[in-house]
């Protein structure tokens, strides 16, 4: 076994260990250690990706001296490695982009507690990506939930605590349903390791025994994870949680936390139950309908919002609807387009949150639209970043959003009866996205009237004054351009990864 194959395990243990370590460090040292850990884990995952691409097949890593089904194991393939690299890069840029806000908004003595949350969030994301065991996935889903709650409420004013309470209530409902689904599945198959469950489920499918509990288990797990990742009727907690927390929290939550749950759902569909059984069970039709409803209603709610951060949060609801619609199409190409949209949305949404916080900073810390007039001239980097992010969300060519929309349309074409609703929903939601995003872009580039300028006296910020944040914004812009222009190699990698994912 090569040494490179140990890297996923080392990453998980390193980030788990950094949690307690950050509790004994001071705020500043915890910040540096956190940045170091994320960079190191990103580099290790790049090495793993190179290794898996070169060998061309996934490998299983035993956690302990006993192999499946008696012991735990993690499984590493191309798709997992790509997602891990991407999550590390996004998290690093989000953390770098929010340094100034964190120092202002979090109390001095509680700074290191924030970094504990981020480290444990990273470890739970890595574990969700790599795990091959269903119960381990549940335990790390709980770590994910609690650390996401910690990220929301670190700011400690009334709104964030109410948002955190709402988030915990909905999230615990989802966890309860997920655990119940796992229990049902365990009682009819008797295994907890994903590969073994897949075999047992295939046997059940062939013999026709225990069909009703299997359907109930699949339904419960899907609904539980859909509640946790804010699919349409269960999205009530999302605007408050993303809209009022500190900016690096909002960026990490929107781009990474929900995507971890969606990736786990993808794993359950592919590796635990098997895609054939899922297609027969009609669960994906329900996800499809809710996905389309989420796309439209999320965008309509975003248009009505007056605060820029809540508007971006509602747009997250719409984008998660896109991802579920891709799953609901039930074809390989649909799932591929959903996975690409996960990457694309993570890059764009984090960019939008970071640039929105810069824009509000130069508009007297007010998030309402009227005060953002001309903000693009006061902070050039943030204006450019917000424009690129909005264009990517709308689907402008050369940027990531365009590729994912084309993929969705391609996946829908040829489908018997889902083609027409998908294409209509894509078109309508693109128009709605354009309405609220371009309205904001136009507003930030409208120059202020001179008497208002004298009255308000907003400050100007150049790139030199905020080097780290501007660098983070520009890196995100570059990431979007890469996803848009060099999408073909990435798509090939993802396709190979999906084929070996089951």
């Amino acid at each position: 076994m090569e040494f490179v194959q140990n890297f996923p395990f080392i990453c998980i243990i390193l980030s788990l260990f950094s949690g307690p370590l950050s509790s004994v460090l001071s705020g500043k040292k915890a910040k540096w250690w956190n940045a170091f850990v994320i960079t190191a884990i990103g580099l290790m995952n790049i090495a793993v990706l190179a290794f898996v691409v070169s060998t061309g097949e996934p490998y299983v890593y035993r956690m302990g001296h006993f192999s499946a089904p008696w012991g735990n194991e993690i499984r590493v393939g191309i798709l997992e490695a790509v997602m891990a690299v991407f999550f590390c890069v996004t998290m690093l840029l989000c953390m770098l982009g929010g340094i100034a806000e964190r120092e202002e908004e979090i109390e001095e003595s509680k700074q290191n507690l924030y970094y504990i949350m981020v480290n444990l969030l990273l470890s739970s994301l890595l574990a969700l990506i790599y795990t091959n065991d269903l119960f381990t996935a549940y335990v790390f889903v709980e770590i994910n939930t609690i650390s996401a709650c910690g990220l929301i409420m670190i700011r400690q004013n009334g709104r964030t605590i109410v948002a955190a309470t709402r988030y915990m209530i909905m999230s615990l409902l989802g966890s309860g349903m997920l655990l119940l689904g796992i229990c049902f599945l365990y009682s009819i198959t008797g295994h907890l390791l994903m590969s073994n469950i897949q075999q047992a489920v295939w046997n059940l499918h062939e013999t026709g025994m225990y069909q009703v509990p299997l359907l109930v288990a699949v339904g419960l797990m899907s609904v539980g994870l859909a509640v946790k990742s804010a699919l349409f009727p269960f999205h009530g907690w999302l605007p408050d949680a993303y809209g009022y927390s500190t900016v690096s929290s909002a960026a990490i939550l929107s781009s990474l936390v929900s995507k971890g749950y969606i990736f786990l759902l993808l794993k359950i569909f592919y590796r635990v139950i098997g895609f054939e059984v899922i297609k027969d069970s009609k669960v994906i039709h329900v996800l499809f309908v809710f996905g389309i409803a989420g796309m439209i209603i999320g965008s309509i709610d975003a248009i009505r919002e007056n605060s820029i951060r809540r508007m971006i949060a509602y747009s997250s609801v719409a984008q998660i609807g896109y991802i579920y619609m891709g799953f609901g199409l039930g074809t390989e190409l649909g799932v591929l387009s959903s996975v690409f949209h996960i990457l694309c949305h993570a890059a764009t949404k984090a960019l939008l949150f970071l640039s929105a916080s810069s824009l509000t900073e130069v508009s007297g810390d007010s998030t309402s639209f009227f005060d953002l007039t001309g903000a693009g001239y006061r902070n050039k980097a943030a204006g450019l970043a917000f424009t690129v992010g909005s264009l990517s969300m709308v689907g402008f060519p050369m940027l990531g959003g365009f590729i994912s929309k084309i993929l969705f349309a391609q996946a829908a074409v040829g489908h018997a009866y889902k083609m027409l609703p998908t294409l209509i929903a894509l078109a309508v939601s693109t128009i709605l996205n354009t309405v609220y995003f371009l309205k904001t872009v136009i507003r930030i580039y409208t120059p202020m009237r001179s008497e208002e300028k004298k009255e308000k006296q907003y400050k100007l910020v150049t790139m030199g004054q905020q080097p780290v944040k501007s660098a983070a914004l520009l890196c995100f812009v570059a990431l979007n351009l890469v996803l848009g222009l060099f999408s073909q190699p990435i798509l090939t990698l993802l396709e190979r990864g999906l084929s070996m994912f089951a």
Binding site: L16, G19, H65, W70, N72, C149, V212, V216
Partner: protein, 323 residues
């Protein structure tokens, strides 16, 4: 009133005190328990007016269902849909249960080759007499590693929310409630006597449960909870001043860091040697002895320390907001 002894002497006898206590005319805590002197309640009329106005407004918007037709309709629809949703969920679950394998049969799918190996070879492969401990700390150790970190991160969130540090600015709410937090009736005779008798056996029992986790029922989690309960009883009986002498914020920080680091280190060694198929040098010992079962004893102790510290921290944070 007594006929045999004068009035003042009667008022000092125990039977008089007992009669007063039964009638409710005497507070058993006055003169026996050390308390903070009670202040007169002062009310500010401006604050009072503002509060009653707010209350009226809130009542109109949230609670007043008779006059607000829109809210009545919304509430009815919401309740109807939620009730329907919950009922349908229960019905779906009951349907699922009715098709599950029958309860308690030995041929269920759950009883396949997996528990067979745990029962038949568990003692030889892990060295633990308690098969469940061997399973969670050796076969499926990754889950337990994640779970100890769940406990740790929940403590961190409680610390974020409830720990009161000295802030530069003034927070009048915190000041007003400082009295409530720091106020503690002290030196209650019954509680102190009982605590003096009970706390040492409780802690020794907790240590026993932790150390014998691999020999019988027990383990780090249950033993840690028992030790935590003993610490809480000690705190309640003797007050914060005495407990601060040995359990401060630094103690908890370093305790949990040490225990979790030790756990991570031990398990990394075990996972690394397992995955790379290197033979592990940890001896398994003879089953039934205390120093046996490889790393399981150490892991139990680490988990027990973390759980005890966590239970105590939860109590202290809820009660006072600091150590």
């Amino acid at each position: 009133m007594s006929r045999k002894i004068p009035e003042e002497q009667y008022k000092k006898t125990r039977s008089y005190h007992l009669k007063q206590w039964l009638d409710g005319t005497r507070d058993p805590f006055v003169d026996t328990v050390e308390m903070k002197p009670q202040q007169e309640f002062q009310e500010d009329t401006a604050v009072l007016e503002q509060r009653s106005e707010e209350k009226k407004e809130i009542f109109e918007r949230v609670f007043d269902v008779e006059h607000n037709a829109e809210m009545r309709l919304f509430q009815r629809i919401y309740r109807l849909f939620s009730a329907l949703f919950c009922l349908s969920l229960v019905l779906v679950l009951l349907t699922g249960v009715s098709y599950l394998p029958t309860f308690g049969h030995a041929e269920n799918p759950v009883n396949n080759e997996v528990p067979e190996r745990y029962i038949e070879n568990g003692l030889q492969e892990t060295g633990a007499v308690n098969i469940v401990t061997g399973m969670i700390l050796d076969y499926r150790a990754f889950d337990t590693l994640g779970e100890s970190h769940v406990l740790f991160i929940a403590t961190c969130t409680v610390l974020i929310l409830l720990r009161i540090d000295k802030k530069k600015g003034k927070d009048s709410i915190a000041e007003r409630e400082a009295n409530d937090r720091i106020y503690e009736p002290k030196n209650d005779v019954i509680l102190q006597t009982v605590a003096k008798i009970l706390v040492p056996p409780i802690i020794i029992f907790g240590i026993y449960v932790i150390l014998c986790g691999h020999l019988g029922p027990g383990g780090g989690f249950s033993g840690g909870a028992v030790i935590g309960a003993g610490l809480i009883l000690y705190l309640n009986a003797f007050g914060f001043a005495k407990t601060e002498r040995f359990f401060t914020a630094k103690t908890y920080k370093w305790m949990s860091f040490g225990a979790l680091a030790c756990y991570a280190l031990a398990k990394s060694y075990s996972f690394y040697t397992g995955a790379n198929e290197i033979h592990s040098v940890i001896p398994l010992g003879t089953p039934g002895a205390i120093l046996s079962s490889g790393l399981i004893l150490i892991l139990n102790i680490c988990v027990g320390i973390v759980v005890a510290g966590t239970m105590y921290t939860f109590y202290v944070m809820f009660r006072k907001g600091g150590y």
